[in-house]
Symmetry: C2
Subunit: 425 residues, 2 copies
């Protein structure tokens, strides 16, 4: 059967062993193909009810009493559930603040612990916010500190050698995204972490594009620290709280620079001298936003129920299918693949490059053209990112999106749109 056919895609959907999970998301618009779960995950069907309970019962009825009835420990309890997805112990992960603030806290702690060493290493494909944070820390620590970014030869991947060439005895910290936001390049976490440790540096992984999308084994890779967001593949809702991981034996040594009462040992004794909480709780700062915190739980439960191995299997099956279609019908039209062909180094989205990427995205989204709106996201200057969320993305959606990508260029349908960047995101 021709792989570029609706029938073939439908057949793959029918054979999908986890196809039943699609129904557990509020994706009911027949005119929408949502391929942006790598930016904002869809709404799980059980989340509104859970939030109604938090709003009406926990806040409305029980009021302040809820702090003793579940709120106080919730950051740790949901953290422990996320821990199962990333190969960590339950007491090594906590939900707190934003990814940016968590990176600040842990990277600061790492630099303080590594006093005398002055270098931070990241890479030029890292998510800019992470790089901004590190630039801010360089400013904070002063002129003797410096940030070096490993370069990419192909704009898609960063070689282990590129990291190795920057590593030296003066390196305090290496912080990288496990899955790179534009290209979906996935680092070999074990190898990189080993090399970093070999030079006496600490390793901090940003799991934002990895958690819930690919299996992660923080303990198995002996990772020191990690951070990640929950609004992508964890489907925690817009701006949902982030999480952080600190390896058990490092928790006592590492200190957060933000000494807030939720990170204090006995916050409700209201003593005047800060004493950090024991364990991972010390990395909390202020009172956690309970609504945005609770919203994370339903999809995390679902991911644990399915298991990351099945998630990965479906993810790669979908991205392999998309890449096969790319070679078949898109490459001849000037599209380029911005994602590793080697599945072992690929996360769960596929980036297609085209010089008209911005206008192509506009055409994909406009449902007047084909009667269906396909939502990817555009990333400057020429990336069309197609997110694959194994719990709800279907083969038929991948097929239809590819068909639209083909026709938009073939029939020059993008020319009716302006290339002016008229939206904030």
């Amino acid at each position: 059967m021709d792989i570029f056919s609706a029938q073939y895609a439908r057949q793959l959907d029918e054979q999908d062993p986890i196809k039943q999970y699609r129904k557990r998301f509020e994706l009911n618009d027949p005119e929408l193909i949502y391929l942006d779960g790598n930016s904002l995950g869809a709404l799980p069907t059980s989340t509104p009810e859970r939030l109604k309970q938090v709003i009406d019962k926990e806040w409305g009825d029980r009021l302040i009493r809820s702090w003793n009835e579940g709120w106080y420990d919730r950051s740790q309890k949901i953290g422990a559930k996320i821990a199962r997805l990333i190969g960590a112990h339950p007491d090594e992960v906590i939900v707190a603040d934003s990814t940016s603030v968590n990176l600040f806290k842990l990277a600061y702690g790492a630099l303080k612990l590594q006093k005398g060493k002055s270098k931070i290493i990241s890479d030029q494909l890292n998510f800019p916010s992470d790089i901004y944070l590190l630039q801010g820390l360089i400013e904070l620590f002063g002129q003797q500190h410096k940030l070096e970014l490993a370069k990419s030869e192909d704009g898609i991947s960063i070689s282990t050698e590129a990291i190795d060439s920057l590593l030296d005895d003066d390196t305090a910290l290496v912080t990288l995204s496990h899955v790179v936001f534009k290209s979906a390049y996935m680092y070999d976490m074990k190898t990189i972490t080993e090399h970093v440790h070999h030079k006496g540096a600490l390793m901090l992984w940003d799991l934002s594009h990895a958690v819930g999308a690919v299996p992660v084994d923080l303990n198995g890779c002996n990772v020191d620290m990690a951070i990640g967001c929950t609004y992508k593949y964890l489907n925690g809702g817009p701006g949902a709280l982030a999480f952080l991981y600190v390896r058990k034996d490092l928790q006592e040594k590492l200190t957060s620079p933000i000494w807030g009462w939720f990170g204090e040992n006995n916050p409700f004794e209201f003593g005047l001298d800060f004493s950090p909480a024991k364990g991972v709780r010390k990395f909390l700062a202020g009172t956690p936003p309970v609504l945005s915190l609770t919203a994370i739980e339903p999809a995390v439960d679902m991911l644990n129920e399915v298991g990351m191995d099945k998630i990965r299997e479906k993810s790669l099956s979908l991205s392999n299918y998309l890449i096969a279609l790319f070679y078949e019908v898109l490459q001849p039209l000037g599209y380029r693949l911005g994602t590793p062909t080697d599945a072992g180094y690929r996360g769960s989205h596929v980036s297609l490059k085209h010089q008209e990427a911005y206008r192509i995205c506009k055409a994909l989204i406009d449902k007047n053209i084909f009667g269906k709106s396909v939502i990817p996201d555009f990333r400057e200057p020429d990336n069309i990112r197609l997110g694959i969320t194994p719990l709800y993305t279907t083969y038929s959606e991948i097929f239809e999106a590819t068909e639209q990508l083909q026709r938009i260029v073939k029939e020059k349908l993008y020319t009716q749109f302006s290339a002016a960047r008229d939206e904030v995101t």
Copy 2:
């Protein structure tokens, strides 16, 4: 008529010019008297519907498109509404992170700007989390920096002289709570700010116990910086996001140490060199939690509709009534007043002290004794805090709570409870 009577209280309720607002909160339990709005504000009746819209429509249906349809500017838009409550310009306030993280960002910025000066001044009645944060900053800036706490003579108030005596040319920053969390002592913001400026120091006010409870005039007092939480008198829900204020002309000079993408000038261009956003937006860091952010708006709208003058009038009428009842029936039983008698220096809660405060609180909360649960909060070692939220607290509730306080001690009803601290909060 006897002021210590249910009839008198009912009469006051009937005459209350803003009594209709009580109905706009979900306070439907006839067996509950909630006097803890100074810790967690009650749920406004319009909030669940607003949140349902965010969850089902903005997240569920519109998905990532909502960033262009209202999410991106929401931190600023709600900030502008809060600005009206605290005498600030719309572009001087933004909703972001937690109170702790905001204090960290602004106090760090202030210390950096005041390079060469080494002293931070606060007071020993300040909320401990604020003091912890400042201790963390002292640790961060190094040994030449120091924190000095103004002392209280009476455990209730801090004299202007106590602040003055610590102020000198080496003072970089003074940070105080406008309304003190235990005693409800309210500083004379204008005088203190003037004295601080006279010595060349910067002034940062924590408005957590003031915003929505008392009129605040940041611009009129020429205040440099302010922070505050929204889950108390702004009724934004558990752990709702905090806000921060930076005076317009100071915004360009002050820098945040946490360089996150939402504080960047063009976050969606994904450039690799951080350039701070113009204006107050530069103090954002990561992606804001939209659910907990949106929950703030309904009550802020309500407060703006009523106006802070009427709020203050009702607040003082209620606290004066409570204090009158205290003198009448509680003082003779060993209760002491932990709150200023001078209304000009009083926020919107009343603290009663008693050596059996913890067990008295247990008895108040237990509804088996009088058929009604009165919820205050206990603050170590001997404070019973009775929160007065002008939008929903009634005179009858104040009367009934006082009656319970009287009987609990008179009839030694507290003795059936243990003094062991068995709950987290």
